[in-house]
């Protein structure tokens, strides 16, 4: 380490230390206490419990009103017997004293002396507690004790980090007991608290701590006993097994102090006990690791250092790189990432300035995974970024509540990885390594190892930044300082594998594998091109031995064999060329180098080197290397070979030695002269500087006086303000009360209220107004006419103006867009001094009231219109039954006029026509019981009007508000209806009783009435047919016979008449005679038709029967004529004279006619045998006894009867001519019998003549014999035998009984 490497300590030591000796300072413990709001109470409790002989001093920092004198000291003096003083500058700290900060000052401590500083920050941004803690940590080191008590914000937390880093004790008030828990919580959240306690419990802990070895022993008094060392080794072993962290290379003293600290915090007496404790409590190992791995970091910690880094390292780097190229940075021991993000921000800023974009890779590594976790999240409390200016906060952070999150693009440039610098391989090809305040915790060997590692890891020319107290140590030869103050270095020289002690890669699979430095493993020679090889060979062969030194005169490069000129002196190795130069060379070399540096040109000198008993002349040349710009100088050594022997024999002792001494003296003189000149110059410069400083001091003093003056002024002004403030506060309280009352009043009424000032700008409004006007609290002060009204009110502003002018209250109703109505009430706004300062507008929702009012009006109009227009007579009376009103219908019905009747008794109405007992009854009940009645029937003959049938409804209208009830009668005159109903009943009876089908159809041809006659004729029930078309009845056998009556009626036909066959319900046809007539309304429009049908089936049958009869008659007549023709033809056949023929024919016709008579008499249904015989023999009877006729009843069919008549006539004629009837005594017996069973009955009929002349068989056969012999058997399917015995003709007929079918 060189001297320049301790600027901080140097300045600290420079502070004057008046009074007591340094030892006393060391032994007085200083307890720094920070508080803010609620602090006085906490301090009081603390000092109540704190003994006055603890030997410690207490320095208290509070937020005090910078403009007021503090009473703190007085307050606390009452709580402790220790002296309490307000701090004055340069005050020595004494034990058992309490020091209270002065207002408007920052308090720092250095070397046991208190300093008051004017705060640099504005009021409100100050963190005086942080300032105190920081200075205490720096001053007291591990003996520092910090106490954080009640307060708001995060003041103190940053300072505590330094306290923690120094190894001090931190007590934090339990937030539960703190009046304001912001500061305690902030400290606890940052993991800073060693103990969390109530203020009154803190003194006990402090007492223990004070007595502890850790504090009691002064720093540096390291325990070197081997047993203790052994125990510490065991502790480290336990920690390594438990947590994997190896602390073997950490600085022993630090480790020991930290472990001691844990002992004291846990109140454990011996290391052995602690070891046992550690073994049983895993949590303790973690806490110990946390304490050992110190993390004190913040954004831009030592802002100047970072600014310098930006200017000296990053700006040139950015300038040299192309857009798109990679910038690689390593931040080992990055802790929670602030340093890494700081570097990232700097690079980003410089890149933006240069208008370039790079692929930035920042490897941020740390051994503690929990730190990395925090770093990766990139979320920091607001306190952490207080050191950043607003521009940086805006650009790199997203603010959220009380935290700041690193923005994504910045976060993306940083890679966080777990990495142990001592055990893991390094990264490589880096442009920058920043490793601040890490090496100090390590043993020197470990430090140097890491520096070498960084050298290796950096690119040629790459930069390194260390902490303020850290240096490159013995590796200064390979690093060129860029900023001595801020420990920035630049890598120089080739990669030196020899100095790098690579950590052996251990099996740690969970760790990210670091990048392998592959290229470095190759020999540098192997990489050289042939040209370089040749160049190197030439140089070695011909070039003189030389060294290249840098501006600090350190050798950075050796060429050739320089052992003849340079050697390493005993002691620590050094690269300083002047240290190495052999005797006889140093003085001249120093002079030559300076000259060469000053003049910028080569400077040569001759020198003689003592060499193994002789002198060897050598020419030394110092050549500045202008190209490098780094102050490099090449010093070459060339042996002089001037024709002499290579080794000049030593000259004779005396003369040559004197001459040599003279020479050397001269050289020294000239050197001395040079030096003197230099010193004089420097002296002059210092004088000038002194002058400047003095004058500046003068200036500052005058400024200070001015400030003092203004301070006094300010104080008096302040007093005034205090008084005013007191008054104002009481006013404010009153106002708050009024405001509360008003707010509650307005919230309670929920009335929309708007206050306008005299310019009609919105002064204030209630929340209820939002329904009418979209107003936000921010709209106060804006003119009303800037807002769209939610209601229709064109006169709002003009009305407001009128109210202002006439000072009257104005009410009007306005309608809202949503259909609601509001009563707008406007009155002047009067201030207390009765000034008109605007208008107050209130809106009352009157929608419902308005609607009710409107509804009642509408209801009245509605009711009136009904009464006027209704066709039913209406009568309204009061309770005394006097007429109140009558409507036009009543006037018309009873031919009265309302004007005349109003006020009269109802019973006088219509000339007393209403004076009826029944009405008295009904109305009496209605008035008394309010019992309504419906359809009360009243049949009454009214004078001048006649009989009327009336239906009456009565109601009593009860009215609210004690008004008289009304009696309402609604009358219906049903006289006409009754009459019509009677007629219609008669008609219906006729239709119902008619045997004809009476049907009506509507205009669509559908049946709408169906009488019983129709049911009878068609067999369909009315229910089946109503609604069906008439065509349902059509007989499918006779389609098209039914005319479309409706069409015909529409064409103008009046009646239709036709006969048609209809289909009955059982499918049989029925003939009906139909008459159809149109049904028309008064306008003649066709409504339908009536259809009357009469059943004519019987008549049709009779007509049919008659046709058949006529046909049959014709047939019979023709048949009869054919028979007559046959008789005529047969009569004329043969030889008969015409007169005889005429007689015979007419007699035969007469018989035929008689047979027909007989048949007609029996209705041509046949006759009987006896009757036929009686009728036929009648003309031949003559006397009573000539015929004997006897036989049972035998029925004869008409045709057989006729044939029988004809045949019997022939027998009679023949008997009259020739037989028994030709004489008077002759007689004929006609007998017959029926024999056999009923189904095979046979007839035997016999004609027997007797008493006549003797009979001969006839000579010729005529028509008569044909009839008897041929026709009769043919007709009767029998046999006829005629015999002629002498007694008379006998004729026997035997046949089946003719009544039977053949």
């Amino acid at each position: 380490m060189t001297e320049e490497d301790h600027p901080v300590e140097a300045s600290a030591n420079a502070v004057p230390n008046p009074g007591a000796g340094a030892a006393a300072v060391h032994h007085c413990l200083v307890v720094g206490m920070g508080a803010s709001a609620g602090g006085i109470e906490a301090f009081s409790k603390f000092f109540d419990a704190m003994p006055n002989d603890s030997g410690a001093a207490f320095v208290l920092v509070l937020h005090l009103d910078p403009t007021r004198e503090s009473q703190m000291a007085k307050v606390l003096a009452a709580r402790t017997t220790m002296p309490v003083v307000q701090v004055e500058d340069q005050m020595r700290i004494l034990p058992n004293h309490v020091y209270v900060i002065a207002p408007d000052r920052d308090l720092t401590v250095s070397a046991g002396v208190l300093h008051l500083i004017k705060p640099a920050e504005k009021r409100g941004h100050r963190h005086p507690v942080d300032v105190l803690f920081r200075s205490l940590a720096a001053d007291q080191g591990e003996r520092v004790i910090a106490v954080v008590l009640s307060g708001t914000g995060s003041n103190g937390t940053d300072g505590l980090k330094e306290v923690r880093a120094a190894g001090g004790l931190i007590l934090v008030q339990d937030p539960e007991t703190a009046k304001f828990d912001g500061m305690p919580r902030s400290a606890i959240a940052a993991g800073m608290a060693d103990h969390i306690l109530a203020p009154e419990a803190m003194p006990a802990i402090l007492g223990q701590y004070f007595r502890n070895e850790y504090i009691a022993e002064p720093k540096g008094g390291e325990t070197s006993e081997t047993s203790s060392q052994h125990l510490i080794d065991q502790v480290l072993t336990v920690v390594r097994t438990r947590t994997g962290h190896n602390f073997n290379t950490y600085r022993r003293s630090t480790l020991q102090r930290r472990i001691q600290r844990r002992l004291s915090l846990r109140n454990i007496a011996s290391l052995g006990d602690y070891l046992a404790d550690l073994r049983t409590d895993p949590a303790e190992a973690a806490v110990l690791v946390r304490d050992l791995l110190i993390n004190v970091t913040s954004f831009f910690r030592d802002a100047d250092a970072w600014r310098t880094l930006g200017e000296v390292v990053i700006a040139p780097l950015v300038a040299a790189r192309e857009t798109g190229s990679t910038i690689r940075v390593w931040v080992p021991g990055c802790s929670t990432g602030e340093e890494a993000y700081t570097v990232a921000m700097l690079i980003a800023e410089q890149a933006t300035l240069a208008g370039k974009a790079f692929d930035v890779k920042i490897f941020a590594t740390d051994a503690r995974e929990d730190n990395l976790q925090t770093a990766r999240e990139g979320v920091y409390p607001a306190a952490a970024v207080t050191g950043l200016d607003d521009a940086r906060k805006r650009r790199f952070f997203e603010a959220a509540e009380a935290t700041y999150r690193v923005k994504k693009d910045l976060r993306a440039t940083v890679v966080f990885a777990p990495h142990n610098l001592l055990s893991d391989p390094p990264f490589s090809h880096l442009d920058l390594v920043t490793c601040r305040n890490l090496l100090i915790y390590l043993e020197p060997d470990a430090q140097q190892g890491i520096i070498a590692l960084f050298h290796f890891a950096l690119e040629q020319g790459g930069a390194m930044m260390l902490g303020n107290t850290e240096t490159v140590g013995r590796h200064s030869g390979v690093f060129e300082p860029l900023s001595k103050k801020w420990r920035m270095y630049k890598r120089m020289g080739a990669t030196r594998l020899d100095i790098v002690n690579f950590p052996v890669l251990r099996g740690q699979p969970s760790r990210q594998k670091p990048e392998q430095p592959t290229t470095i493993l190759q020999s540098p020679d192997q990489n050289l091109p042939v040209g370089d090889l040749a160049r190197r060979a030439l140089l070695e062969r011909f070039a003189p031995a030389a060294v290249l030194i840098d501006a600090a005169s350190r050798v950075v490069y050796f060429h050739g064999s320089t052992s003849a000129y340079l050697e390493q002196p005993t002691g620590e190795p050094s690269s300083d060329v002047f240290h190495m130069a052999r005797e006889g060379l140093v003085t001249k070399l120093r002079s030559a180098v300076r000259k060469a540096r000053d003049e910028g040109s080569d400077v040569s000198f001759d020198a003689k080197l003592r060499h193994s008993g002789g002198h060897r002349p050598v020419m030394v040349t110092a050549s500045p290397i202008t190209g490098s710009g780094k102050g490099h100088i090449l010093i070459s050594f060339a042996p002089v070979i001037a024709g002499e022997a290579r080794t000049i024999p030593a000259p004779p002792e005396n003369p040559s030695q004197v001459a040599d001494l003279r020479d050397e003296l001269a050289t020294v003189r000239s050197e001395l002269q040079n030096t003197i000149e230099h010193l004089e110059t420097a002296n002059e410069e210092l004088k000038a500087a002194n002058e400047e400083a003095t004058s500046m001091n003068e200036e500052l003093q005058s400024t200070n006086e001015e400030l003092e003056t203004s301070k006094e002024e300010m104080q008096s002004f302040n007093e005034e303000l205090h008084t005013v403030n007191g008054q104002l506060q009481s006013n404010v309280r009153d106002l708050e009360d009024s405001t509360n009352v008003l707010n509650n009043l307005l919230a309670g009424t929920d009335t929309a209220t708007l206050f306008l000032d005299d310019k009609f700008c919105i002064k204030w409004f209630t929340p209820g107004l939002r329904e009418l006007l979209d107003l936000l609290p921010g709209d106060i002060g804006r003119p009303l006419d800037h807002f769209a009204l939610k209601f229709r009110d064109d006169n709002l502003l003009s009305d407001a103006a009128r109210v202002m002018r006439k000072l009257q209250v104005l009410e009007t109703e306005v309608s809202g867009i949503d259909g609601r109505w509001h009563l707008r009430r406007m009155l002047p706004y009067r201030t207390l001094d009765n000034r008109i300062a605007g208008v107050v507008i209130t809106f009352f929702d009157v929608t419902d009231a308005r609607a009710a009012r409107q509804a009642s009006t509408e209801a009245r109009i509605y009711a009136q219109a009904i009464v006027e227009t209704i066709r039913q007579p209406l009568l309204v009376m009061d309770e005394a039954l006097n007429v109140v009103s009558i409507n036009p219908a009543l006037e018309a019905l009873f031919r009265v006029s309302e004007a005349k009747e109003i006020g009269q008794s109802v019973f006088d109405l219509a000339e007393g026509g209403w004076n009826l007992p029944q009405l008295h009854d009904l109305l009496g009940k209605l008035v008394e019981d309010a019992q309504p009645f419906n359809d009360a029937q009243l049949d009454q003959s009214f004078p001048g009007i006649g009989l009327r049938h009336l239906l009456i409804n009565g109601r009593k209208l009860l009215r609210e508000g004690g008004r008289q009830s009304l009696i309402l009668l609604a009358i219906e005159d049903v006289t006409e209806r009754r009459r019509a109903e009677a007629v219609s009943r008669q008609l219906a009876a006729i239709v119902d009783s008619s045997r004809d089908a009476v049907i009506s159809i509507d205009a669509d041809g559908l049946i709408d009435s169906w009488n019983p006659g129709a049911v009878r004729i068609y067999g369909f029930a009315a229910a089946e047919m109503i609604g069906k078309p008439l065509s349902m009845l059509n007989d499918p056998g006779q389609p098209g016979d039914v005319p479309d009556c409706l069409a015909r009626f529409r064409e103008g036909a009046q009646t239709l008449h036709y006969e048609v066959s209809r289909m009955r319900a059982d499918g049989t046809p029925v003939w009906v005679s139909v008459t159809q007539s149109p049904l028309r309304d008064l306008s003649g429009a066709l409504l339908g038709a009536s259809s009357i049908a009469r059943d004519i089936t019987d008549r049709r049958q009779a007509e049919h029967q008659r046709g058949i009869l006529m046909n049959e008659l014709n047939h019979r007549v023709k048949n009869s004529l054919a028979v007559v023709q046959a008789i005529a033809s047969q009569t004329l056949r043969g030889d008969i004279s015409l007169p005889d023929a005429r007689v015979a024919f007419s007699e035969r016709l007469r018989v035929l006619a008689r047979a027909h008579d007989l048949l007609v008499m029996s209705n041509w249904s046949g006759t009987d045998l006896a009757s036929v015989i009686e009728a036929t023999v009648e003309p031949h009877k003559g006397g009573q006894s000539r015929f004997g006729i006897a036989g049972p009843y035998v029925a004869l069919r008409p045709q057989i009867a006729v044939t029988f008549c004809l045949a019997l006539h022939e027998l009679c004629t023949n008997a009259a001519k020739y037989g028994a009837l030709s004489v008077p005594e002759g007689r004929v017996d006609i007998t017959w019998t029926v024999t056999g069973p009923a189904d095979k009955a046979r007839l035997r009929w016999q004609w027997t003549e007797s008493g006549g002349p003797p009979v001969n068989a006839p000579l010729r056969k005529g028509f008569g014999s044909s009839l008897i012999g041929q026709v009769l058997p043919m007709e009767l399917f029998g046999e006829v035998t005629v015999t002629y015995p002498p007694t008379g003709v006998v004729c026997v007929l035997q046949s089946p009984l003719p009544g039977l079918d053949p």
């Binding site: 046909n1111 014709n1114 047939h1115 019979r1116 007549v1117 023709k1118 048949n1119 004529l1121 054919a1122 028979v1123 007559v1124 023709q1125 046959a1126 008789i1127 033809s1129 047969q1130 056949r1133 045709q1199 044939t1203 004809l1206 044909s1266 009839l1267 041929q1270 026709v1271 009769l1272 043919m1274 007709e1275 399917f1277 053949p1302």
Partner: protein, 129 residues
């Protein structure tokens, strides 16, 4: 097949025996012979099926029974038929609409003509068959 002028054998069906006898007399006067006289359809059926005859004169309504079943039998045998009826042609039913009809009362001339027609029709039918 009887010649146009040849004598024919007739069957007569008429429920009026007098008319049947008179018709038979008239046919015999014309030189023909009557081989069967029936007053009932049932009584004449046997002869109509199997009798030897050339022509038939049939009343339509025979004692309330229509003579068409018997006429069909004769028609089936190809024997010419003449209907004699008071109904005239109106008394015919389908199948016999074209049959020859002698409307009662008829005279000798009517009979002569209708027999001659029946001969012609019969001969045409025979020729066709």
């Amino acid at each position: 097949m009887p010649a146009d002028t040849g004598f024919l054998r007739f069957m007569i069906l008429d429920d009026e025996a007098i008319i049947a006898l008179d018709l038979a007399g008239m046919l015999e006067d014309l030189g023909h012979s009557v081989v069967s006289m029936a007053t009932r359809v049932a009584g004449g059926m046997e002869f109509a099926r199997h009798g030897d005859l050339d022509m038939a004169i049939l009343d339509i309504n025979v004692d309330g029974v229509a003579s068409f079943p018997l006429a069909e039998v004769l028609q089936g045998r190809g024997i010419p038929i003449i209907f004699a009826s008071g109904y005239g042609e109106r008394g015919l039913i389908d199948g016999f609409r074209d049959a020859l009809v002698l409307t009662k009362p008829y005279g000798m001339d009517d009979l002569t003509q209708v027999v001659a027609k029946a001969r012609v029709v019969s001969s045409q039918t025979a020729t066709r068959s």
